[in-house]
Symmetry: C2
Subunit: 422 residues, 2 copies
C-alpha cells in the first residue's frame, strides 16, 4: 500500500528547513565586471565621497548666490564674466563679489561660487554696445533674471555618498546599477559569496541519461538539467552525480559522496512510490536530524521530502518533472539564497493578469497552476495550460504559475491574479 | 543657449527605432546544458513521441477496463495476478480477460491492458486462505473495488508530445523548463541566436576609466559597466570602446569603428549640453537615415538620441547614470531582443505594491520614479527613494521603478502600483 503522508503546509515546511540548515559563508574575490548576479560577501564602503568635487548640475553661470538676490526680468542683476570652468579639470578662477563664471553640467564650481544660475535665465551681453549674444565667453557681462539660493543647481562634495559610507550592504545581489556604482567608486574587484554547490542525484530504474539510446520502458533524465538551470539562475552551481538504480546501498553510497562534496543535495526519485520511499530511507542514514518533512500540502509536489543531515539540506524531489521544478522553486531556491547570505528579501518577479477561467481547488492545499499570458488591452489574460501535469512541456507552454492559496477553494474567472514568472 | 528639443512620446520613439532597424539573425550551435537564457534560432521539433511507450500514471494494477465494470466495495471484481511490470523495461507479460499485472507509476503497460486501477482501490488476496496481504506479488488474485474507464490512469504514446510536433518555437528564450524538455527529448545540442554585440563608447572630457587615479574635476565611468551588465542580462554581449574626448573627429572615428564591428552602438555623452549636441552631430555622419528622435518625453532621460545608421541602431544616452540606465531599459533592451529574434512578448518582471507617498508628475510626460519595496502584511509598500536623480546610488538603494504615465498628473499615496524590478 502507498504510504500515508502527514502533510505539512509549505510555509511551515520551508521554515523548518531554513531553521535547521547551517550556513558557512565563504568569499571569493572577483572582478566587478564579472560580478553581475553575484552576492556581496561584505559591505561595500565608499573609499571617497561622491561627487569628489563641488559640481554644477546644469549649464549656466556659477555665481555667489547673494549677488542674485532680487534679480528679475525687469531689474536683472549684472555680473562680470571672468571666464569659463573647464570640463574635467579644476579651475584656477576664483569669484569675487559681482562676478560669474560660465559652467557646464558636471563642471567643477570655481572657488568663491556657491550656486549656479541656469543659462535659460541669463543673457550674456557685450558691455560696450549692450548687444545681446548667447553664451559668448568673450562678452564681459551677464544679465541674471532670477535669483538663486546658496547651493541651488550644485552638488556638494559627498552629497550623493560620503567617504566611509556603506553604499552596498553585505548579502546584496549585484544588479546593473550596483556594477555601475562600484565602478563609479573605482572598486574594480570585490569579495562575493562563493556559489553554493548543489549535488543532483537521479534515482529510478527507468531513468537514463539524455545521451543514451532510448529503449522500451526508459525515459530520459530531464530533472537534473532543469534543476541545474534553476539553481544557476538563483546564484548557485550544480554538479550532476548521474543516475543510480533503485537499490538502497548504491543510492546511499552515491548520496553520501555527493553530500560530502557539495553544499546541498537533491535526489530526484523515480516516479513510483517505492522509489520515493527508498529515497526517504537513504536520506535518514545520511545524518541527523534527517527527514524533517515527508509530504507537503502543495500541488504539484505532495510527496516531497525535506531533510537536514548534519547541517546540510537534502531534498527528495518527486520524479514528475513539473513537480520537481515547482518544488525546487519553493524549497531549493530559498536554501541556495540562504547559503549565499542573501539578506534583502527577494521579491519573485510577477505579472498581474486577468484570469481567463474558473480554477477550482481543494481547500487546505496550495495549488500552483501553469498559465500562459496573452497580451490584451491594458494588460494580460492568464489562460491555464491544459495537459497532463507530469509533462515538462506543460511548463514549456506556460509563462508562469498562479497560486491558489490553501484557504481558497479556487479562483474565479475575471479575478486579477499575480502570475509568478517561470 | 541649450537646444530646444522636440520631444517624442516614448512608445512612438521605440516604434520608429524598431521599424528602421535591420535584423540579420545568425545561429550558433551550443550544448543544451549551456543554453539557459539563450534564444532558439529555429523551431525545436520532437524527434519521437513522449511518452515513447504506454505508461501508468499511478501505482496499482494494469487491467482490461472492461473487466472492472460494475466493481464496487460490496461486489468487487476478482482478477488473476499474473506478475509485475518491471520499471525501465518492456514486460513480456500479456493480459487476457480476467487478468491483471502489478504496475508502478511510470511503468510500461503490458500488452492487452488499457487502464490502471489505483492500488488504494484494490486488495491483493491469497486464493487459498483469502487472507489479505498488501501488494504481495505472490498472491494470485486481486480484489478491485472501483471500475476504471479505458485509458484511465495511463498515458498513451505521444499523449504529451507527438513525433514531429513543434515543442519550442523559434525565437523563444530558454528557461529551466525548456532545458529539461530538450533533454527529455535527447536534444543535447541546438542552434541558438548569436548574442547581439553592443558597442559602448563614452564621451565627455570629465570621464575617466575606473582604473585611473581620480584628479579634481574628473568622474569615473559608471555607465559603460552598468550598460554592459544590462545588455548581458537581456541576452546580448558588450564591447567597450573606451572614453573619447569631446572632439568631433575623434568621436566620429571611434564611433565608426565600433559601429562597423558591432550590431548596435551606444554613445554615452558627457553631462553637458555641448557634449550631447556633439553626439548628435557625429551620429548623423554615421549613416542614413541617422537621428530619428532627439528628445524623448520621459523623465529621467529627456535628451536621448535614437538613430538608425545604415540599418544599425545607434543610441545617444544622457551622461547622467540614472537616465542612462532607465533609457537603456526602455530602448536598448527592446532592440537587443529584436536582434535576438525574440518573438514571444517578454513581460517585464514586476511586483505589485501599495504606494507610500503622493507622487506628483508633469502631465504629458512618462515619469519613472525609483522606489524601495518594504515587505508588509499582504504585500509590499513602495517608498520613493529620495536623492539627487543623477546619482547611480539612487538606483542602488531602489528595488524597482514606478511609471507615472503621461496622461496622469501623478499617483496618489495608497494607490496600488506595479513596480518594474531593477
Amino acid at each position: 500500500m502507498p504510504e500515508f503522508l502527514k502533510l505539512t503546509p509549505p510555509d511551515e515546511a520551508l521554515r523548518q528547513l531554513l531553521e535547521n540548515v547551517s550556513v558557512n559563508l565563504q568569499a571569493e574575490e572577483i572582478e566587478t565586471v564579472s560580478a553581475l548576479g553575484r552576492v556581496t560577501f561584505s559591505p561595500v564602503i565608499a573609499p571617497y565621497p561622491l561627487p569628489s568635487f563641488p559640481r554644477s548640475t546644469v549649464d549656466g553661470y556659477a555665481v555667489r548666490a547673494a549677488d542674485t538676490f532680487g534679480a528679475s526680468e525687469a531689474i536683472p542683476a549684472y555680473l562680470a564674466l571672468i571666464g569659463e570652468a573647464p570640463m574635467g579639470a579644476a579651475t584656477t578662477l576664483s569669484l569675487s563679489k559681482g562676478q560669474c563664471v560660465l559652467i557646464h553640467t558636471g563642471g567643477m564650481l570655481p572657488e568663491g561660487s556657491d550656486a549656479v544660475v541656469m543659462v535659460e535665465y541669463t543673457q550674456a551681453i557685450t558691455p560696450d554696445s549692450r548687444k545681446r549674444s548667447a553664451t559668448n565667453v568673450l562678452s564681459q557681462e551677464v544679465e541674471i533674471y532670477r535669483p538663486v539660493a546658496p547651493g541651488e543647481n550644485t552638488l556638494e562634495v559627498g552629497e550623493d555618498v560620503h567617504a566611509g559610507q556603506e553604499v552596498i550592504a553585505a548579502g546584496a545581489r549585484l544588479r546593473p546599477a550596483e556594477i555601475g556604482g562600484l565602478m563609479a567608486l573605482g572598486i574594480i574587484r570585490l569579495p562575493v559569496a562563493r556559489r553554493p554547490q548543489l549535488g543532483i542525484l537521479s534515482s529510478g530504474d527507468e531513468v537514463i541519461s539524455p545521451e543514451e539510446d532510448l529503449s522500451p520502458g526508459k525515459v530520459r533524465d530531464a530533472n537534473s538539467y532543469s534543476l541545474s538551470a534553476l539553481v544557476k539562475e538563483a546564484g548557485g552551481s550544480a554538479r550532476l552525480y548521474g543516475i543510480v538504480s533503485d537499490q538502497e546501498q548504491a543510492l546511499f553510497a552515491a548520496a553520501l559522496q555527493a553530500l560530502t562534496e557539495c553544499d546541498l543535495l537533491v535526489i530526484t526519485a523515480g516516479s513510483s512510490a517505492s522509489s520515493r520511499d527508498l529515497t526517504a530511507q537513504v536520506i535518514n542514514r545520511l545524518g541527523t536530524p534527517g527527514v524533517l518533512v515527508h509530504g507537503v500540502n502543495v500541488r504539484p509536489g505532495k510527496p516531497t521530502i525535506l531533510a537536514v543531515c548534519d547541517g546540510k539540506v537534502v531534498i527528495g524531489l518527486p520524479g514528475n518533472p513539473v513537480s520537481a521544478l515547482v518544488i525546487a522553486s519553493l524549497f531549493v531556491v530559498p536554501v541556495v539564497e540562504k547559503l549565499l547570505g542573501l539578506r534583502r528579501f527577494h521579491p519573485r518577479p510577477t505579472v498581474v493578469a486577468r484570469l481567463g477561467l474558473n480554477l477550482p481547488s481543494q481547500s487546505g492545499r496550495d495549488d500552483w497552476v501553469a498559465v500562459r499570458l496573452v497580451p490584451e488591452a491594458g494588460g494580460f489574460l492568464a489562460e491555464p495550460v491544459f495537459g497532463k501535469s507530469n509533462s515538462i512541456f506543460t511548463l514549456v507552454r506556460a509563462d508562469g504559475l498562479v497560486r491558489i492559496p490553501s484557504n481558497a477553494t479556487g479562483l474565479s474567472a475575471e479575478e486579477i491574479v499575480e502570475v509568478v514568472l517561470l
